[in-house]
Amino acid sequence: MKLVRDVLDRFEPLFSERGVFRRFRPVFDAGEAILLSPLDRTTVAPHVRDPLDVKRYMTLVIVALMPALAAAVYFFGLRVLAMVIVSYVAGGAVEVLFAVVRREEINEGFLVTGLLFPLVLPPATPLWMVAVGVAFGVLVGKELFGGTGRNLFNPALVGRIFLVLAYPKTLADSWLYARPQAFGDVLPMDLDAITAATQSAVDVMSSATPLVAAKNGVLVPLWNLFFGTVSGSAGETSAAALMLGGLFLLFVGVSSWRTVAATLGAFAVTTFALHGGSFHMTLWHMLAGGLMIGAFFMATDPVSSPMTKAGRVAYGAIIGVSSALIRNLTGYVEGVMFAILLGNIFAPILDEVFINLSVRRLREEG
């Protein structure tokens, strides 16, 4: 602790009013804030504050993403880590640039975006594309709206959509078949045996995602979807890892259970109806594609979702229903991303509606 303080004190003059790097004061402040707890005091009542701050709030999201990141590295190799590093560097540069120009603090929200973004990309996405995508997402998805807390859309999704629209061909070629590579086969069960059946069928389109395969009449078994031994975005394939992290986030109360339950519930009901009452297909669709990462980690972003409780239920329902509709009734094989952006668009109006209702109730109460 003392050592860290001493080192910080040594570099402090460089970032002070007269220092060479005075414009980069936010970088120093962010570094200090991450290393050492602040000494800021309360000035007015209440004189004490709850120990939870935004830093911890965002840190818990990152902690919850760890199982998914581990699964991604396990299935797609260390390349995923390289993508994460590139994403942090490129997105961080945009964040720092805006903080310096605006003379504001660097916000912690970026740490979540920087990790979430590579996890929703195909695992073989070129690294330069990761950099371009995250820069676009942070710039257009967040900074142009005024920074964290004021953005309308989830920045990671904005970056993802940008890449999908800008480089459809490259992205489509970037899918890999999931195969334990980084650390050898350490999963307790014999996954090769489980996957063998599908392997042969999918051989023709070796790296097609389960949803693409399904459009072509090949269904990947549920177990593969559950553990993640399928093709897909780096962090979205393992439903088990995502649920583990997602349930942790729900337990600590960082993500809203209303959003998650409404999203998954509405998706299940709609899919059940579209598939003529097939439980198997409903479960299959819930585990396939980006639904899990979307419902647990993307839709629950508090900034771009509604503030009101009822609004969060409606928002989740919109996302769930529209993902199912896009997946099954349009030319797209996956609809979760678009559905969440659609939900983001609806969020302010949903808030408006439910705030008006609660104001009316308050008026009646007197």
Binding site: A33, A45, P46, G149, G253, M307, S358, R363
Partner: protein, 490 residues
């Protein structure tokens, strides 16, 4: 009952009340939270008797500040204080004068007797917390037997062995305003004192008993006024007082004793041995804190943890509205990556620390922001904790964008200032201050508008009486001024 939260703070005082060590001087402050006693009625060096008027507040219904003991007054010794030295040396004649016993004057006379005897400091308007007009008939009376804000002296400290006096005080109060419903707020818990208190309250004739769970801030008069459905217009006055207020009413009306002492808590995370003390007004703050502080540097708060004000640097003695001194250590030590630790010894409103699972543990809070100021991330915790059922985060966003009329639409006036929203906010936004400021501004605006309308109507009426055709312009002037006030208020 929605929202509310008991801040798990360590450093609560035990139930008993102690007598403070003797002092040779009292430093009576001429200001307190609501009062400024500018009209000093004693001369430097004058000998005063206990209960004599030291000063009055001319702006607030001439409420007097009474001498807590007999002695010699010194005015220049400490700025903003009347210092009493040579205590107990004065004549006892003044005291005898005041011990007139219950009188048989009318009810307004008795209200003025409460003012005379220094009890009016104990009353406030339930909705606004302001000083109540003694001449205005109340629309209701709320007597709260408990005080749930951490550290402050509540009923458990004041009511032991005093329930008969409480009952007598409540009866006297009800007699002051026979038309106003009396609400007695008692706690919902298994404590023997609490059940005795409930029985006492139920036995009172005509009193409505409100049983509230022991969760802050369900004891707040503003909250009770709303739950009880009392009228909330600009002119409606609802008397609110705590246990010590009712006991002071009893002492004044039934024994003729002036209210010149208070039961205060000296407690908080930085106090080694927290206590309740029965001390006269002006008792030196230094004397109360002496030998009790266990952490430095410390901040002394006049009032509770969530709504108190930092003790003014110049204030040397106990003021006439103090309910407790809360002492907090200032943060001095930084910890390495504290936000990423499990937090075994931390309690939080959220479930984001391991310590949350240990429900028996209290936390030693410091006067720290515990994080950096950030824009609102819409987490919704303020809405969950708000006992008034309003949306502090949404109101904050409107106020941030200078849209006070939106704050009005979202019923910022219902804010009771409990401070829980600021407490739980992970972005460390000063929601309480922003909401209270907006509510106060809107109330002032409404009063100004109404006063101007009344003036305009009066002018119109006068003009009509003298020459009928002049009434139009007078009305117009009133309207445009009103518009200017609305603009200016932003």
């Amino acid at each position: 009952m929605r929202g509310g939260f008991n801040v798990p703070a360590a450093g609560l005082p035990p139930a008993g009340v102690e007598e403070p060590p003797a002092t040779d001087r009292l430093l009576v402050p001429l200001t307190s939270r609501r009062f400024t006693f500018t009209d000093v009625r004693v001369d430097d060096g004058q000998s005063v008797s206990a209960g004599q008027v030291l000063a009055v507040d001319p702006d607030r219904y001439d409420v007097p500040l009474l001498a807590p003991a007999s002695g010699t007054a010194r005015l220049s010794e400490a700025e903003g204080h009347v210092v009493l030295v040579g205590l107990g040396a004065g004549s006892a004649a003044g005291e005898a004068l005041l011990r007139g016993g219950p009188d048989d004057r009318g009810s307004s006379a008795t209200t003025s007797r409460l003012v005379e005897l220094g009890v009016w400091q104990f009353l406030s308007d339930a909705r606004t917390g302001e000083v109540v007009d003694p001449d205005a008939a109340p629309a209701g009376i709320i007597a709260t037997a408990l005080r749930l804000e951490p550290f402050l002296a509540g009923g458990e400290a004041q009511l032991r062995g005093a329930l008969d006096r409480l009952a007598r005080g409540l009866t006297s109060l009800a007699a002051l305003a026979p038309d106003a419903p009396l609400f007695v707020v008692v706690p919902d818990c298994d404590d023997p004192l609490a059940s005795e208190l409930r029985e006492t309250a139920v036995a009172l004739k005509g009193a409505h008993v409100v049983v509230v769970p022991l969760r802050f801030p369900f004891d707040e008069p503003a909250h009770i006024a709303r739950v009880a459905g009392l009228p909330s217009g600009l002119d409606d006055v609802v008397w609110a007082l705590r246990a010590e207020g009712v006991l002071a009413v009893d002492a004044a009306l039934n024994e003729g004793r002036p209210a010149t002492e208070r039961v205060v808590s000296v407690a908080g995370p930085a106090v080694g041995e927290p206590v309740h003390v029965r001390a006269p007004l002006g008792y030196p703050v230094e004397g109360l804190l002496h030998g009790r502080l266990c952490r430095q540097p410390a901040r002394v708060v006049n009032g509770g943890l969530l709504t108190g004000e930092t003790l003014a640097p110049g204030q040397l003695g106990l003021d006439c509205e103090c309910a407790g001194l809360t002492v907090l250590a200032e943060p001095t030590r930084q910890t390495l990556v504290s936000f990423a630790r499990p937090g075994v010894s931390r309690r939080s409103y959220s479930r984001t620390f391991v310590g949350t699972l240990r429900t028996d543990m209290a936390m030693r809070y410091r006067a720290a922001l515990s994080g950096e100021l950030r824009p609102c991330i819409s987490c919704g915790q303020c809405t969950d904790v708000c006992p008034a059922g309003i949306l502090p985060g949404v109101i904050h966003k409107h106020l941030y964008a200078d849209r006070i009329e939106e704050a009005q639409r979202l019923r910022v006036d219902l804010c009771i200032g409990c401070g829980l929203c600021s407490f739980v906010c992970p972005s460390k936004i000063d929601l309480r201050r922003q909401l209270l400021a907006a509510a106060g501004e809107l109330r002032e605006e409404a009063r100004t508008i109404r006063a101007e309308q009344a003036a305009a109507e009066e002018a119109a009426r006068l003009a009509e009486e003298s020459e009928p055709e002049a009434s139009g312009p007078a009305g117009e002037t009133g309207g445009s001024t009103t518009g200017a006030v609305v603009e200016g208020a932003r």
